[in-house]
Symmetry: C3
Subunit: 337 residues, 3 copies
Amino acid sequence: MSATLSDLSVIAKAEFRGDGDCLISAVNTLSDAQAGEISFLTNSRYLKELDSTGASAVILNRDMANLCSIRNLIISDNPYLAFALIASYFADNNKPVKSGVHASAVVSDNALLGKDVFIGANAVIGENCKLADGVHIGAGCVVGDGCEIGESSELSANVTLADNIVIGSHCLLHSGAVIGGDGFGFANDKGQWIKVPQSGRVVIGNHVEIGANTAIDRGAINDTVIHDGVKLDNLIQVAHNVNIGKNTAIAGATAIAGSTRIGENCTIAGGCGIVGHIDIENNSHVSAMTLVSKSVKSGEHVTGSLPAMPHKQWQKNLSRLKKLDELTRKIKKLENQ
Amino acid sequence: MSATLSDLSVIAKAEFRGDGDCLISAVNTLSDAQAGEISFLTNSRYLKELDSTGASAVILNRDMANLCSIRNLIISDNPYLAFALIASYFADNNKPVKSGVHASAVVSDNALLGKDVFIGANAVIGENCKLADGVHIGAGCVVGDGCEIGESSELSANVTLADNIVIGSHCLLHSGAVIGGDGFGFANDKGQWIKVPQSGRVVIGNHVEIGANTAIDRGAINDTVIHDGVKLDNLIQVAHNVNIGKNTAIAGATAIAGSTRIGENCTIAGGCGIVGHIDIENNSHVSAMTLVSKSVKSGEHVTGSLPAMPHKQWQKNLSRLKKLDELTRKIKKLENQ
Amino acid sequence: MSATLSDLSVIAKAEFRGDGDCLISAVNTLSDAQAGEISFLTNSRYLKELDSTGASAVILNRDMANLCSIRNLIISDNPYLAFALIASYFADNNKPVKSGVHASAVVSDNALLGKDVFIGANAVIGENCKLADGVHIGAGCVVGDGCEIGESSELSANVTLADNIVIGSHCLLHSGAVIGGDGFGFANDKGQWIKVPQSGRVVIGNHVEIGANTAIDRGAINDTVIHDGVKLDNLIQVAHNVNIGKNTAIAGATAIAGSTRIGENCTIAGGCGIVGHIDIENNSHVSAMTLVSKSVKSGEHVTGSLPAMPHKQWQKNLSRLKKLDELTRKIKKLENQ
């Protein structure tokens, strides 16, 4: 499988410089690339590696292209995007296409399977499910009763969908993801917790990616909703009735409490905690390991992490923090004098 | 499946006002409820929605009942509890009852199965297990050797129990939960880690709920113990020899290190870290994303999170934090002058 | 299965005092041990329990041995190590050895299986896998295509390996671990996220232990690498292209972002966040719930947690933190006066 530099420039929505007929068959890093491979430069830190790369061509932006003596280039305003498009071209072409239902899979008689559906070994598909054309269910997955999965969506091995989950088209759910566990809802009766039934669904849009071991709970009455283009990393907790807007990306180990709304095109870094019943508006950004306890306005960037210090420095400073109020009062007194 | 308002008031341990014969068949939110449905008001924020709700009846407290022009009411001192009881009534009646062992399940010959046990497709039950009456094992679960599961307890799909795990009655374990992995115990031999065998069990009481992808490690020698009525949310880490007291509830993504004891009726919010070998006494409360590094006294409420700020404000203030000790010394000097 | 005190001293690389022929058949805690069992004292807190223990022998260090009236002792400079070695001796001898492929497992025809391989019920082994002698694959595991697993390595039940994963010898992966999910890599095209194919592998060395529900992503182009002797606890997130050096131990619920390098013999406590593209050098230590946002020098100990306080104290002090910059400026003014 190979393509000419000229063809790749079309795939990358970019222009090429040099030999348009140069044949490329793979992507690689600058330091490891060999003849026949294309590499990329998206960070000026790696500029030095341009001199010694064995790549037959390189993807970069115009400024760097003008500093570079390599003959064959793909020039893009967004070289990381150009790289993603070219790498996807090679990856998609090298991916083995699987279809058919493995003999060991347990598929309910009344499941509706589209064309070219793949169901792996020991997977289980419940009653009244609809799997659209090209759906790929990995080995060991369990799809509960009444689930719908849209065209070309893929569940990696050992994914679990509870009952009545809706997944759009072109989604990718990684292993260990659990969609539709009960939300954490209990009423307190003199110390004893009484379960509040969780009868909503989880509804996931198109082009959503969900990382390994991420858990998305079903809604209590209404649904938990993940809109088109959302990207969730690994080990994320999404509580009941959360609503995540289009194209928002959330990094690993973040936890979102119940009924919170996150807008479109937000980026939330890893290890964050977001309390329940608040609004994170469109285009906002949350830094790593921040606890968000109030709503965030559109476009705002909030941070609440403590910077790591050498342990001794931390001991000295943080012991003072417990008396910051007292300290502030002392200063007021001094000012009054 | 429906019930009269009068019957529902008995179920909810509450009183009714209005037409006791009014037939109700489901619960719903104030904004979505239609005729034949009952809704609830537990938060005065939603008071406005009372005017426009299509619900045939509403659950609320006496104060709000007196402000409200709706005819049919369930009046309770604890409307959320009343709602939970009524919603459970409808949910339990609508839940399909499954029993029998699926042909694809692998159940050891010497397993003891009670009446009406359900074992789903491709589940695996090891040697010498005892499953009491009404136990439900979801598809893809693996129950190790020597496990005991009490009456009416349910494992959702793809739950894993290691060997010799004890689960009480009326428990619910959500998908991806792992009970009985080895505790993280290693002795250091000149840089190399030597494993300390983890031969204790995990012993879980009655009416315990465990969230998706939560992990509870087995004890090193003694057992890890989760008492009756404990509720654990998703993605929680419970290390070896932790002991969690009755009716304590812990929210998602919290991690508890080894040998720590948590008392009864505690509430621990999400994203917390609790160090090993400490005591969190009865009725205490830990706020979200707090690191608890010392024991907590009975009834105490501890907090250790940093509030999120606009990023620029954070940059200004947190850079000062690293010099808080110096600042405190300066103030002492000024005071001495 | 039992051993003499004298034999156990050899196993523990330690010396014994008392009756070398005393027969021991198990380890136990000081408070629970009975005749025929050996216990251990590694923490002076438990010194009192020596007087009342029923153990036939005790492992401790020389100082404590000299204070102790118990006749039979194993004396070691590192009593926890001595305990680990003796406990392992008993545990290994009591462990049932399983081999053979369960009838319900689905093993690709072209898989290469070594001697004494065990494959549990409903496990799935993909195309072109190599499982060395003594490999143990638990029930419900899915091993993707092209994986290699070294001698005597064990996957507990319901572990998932994606395609082309390499695991060394004598490793132990706990249930729910997911190795080789896609790294979280996307290029942004005017708001829409375009997936960057993740075609690297995960390569894991020898004697590595990986906790329950931990996720290790495959590299983007190059591999994610976990070196010999690394110990990872539960619910850890290891992003693409992370490299973790020999004998480093990481506690539960820590998350490591992409391309970060962690050196050898580091210890990282639980609940930490480590940003991407940094270097944590050899022998460094990170305290619990610390966000590491810059590289850490060899041997350094960094901390960035906020100590928990009584909630009211926290309210008073943390509200001041938001004005710490202003406070600092006031003090400068006062000093200038």
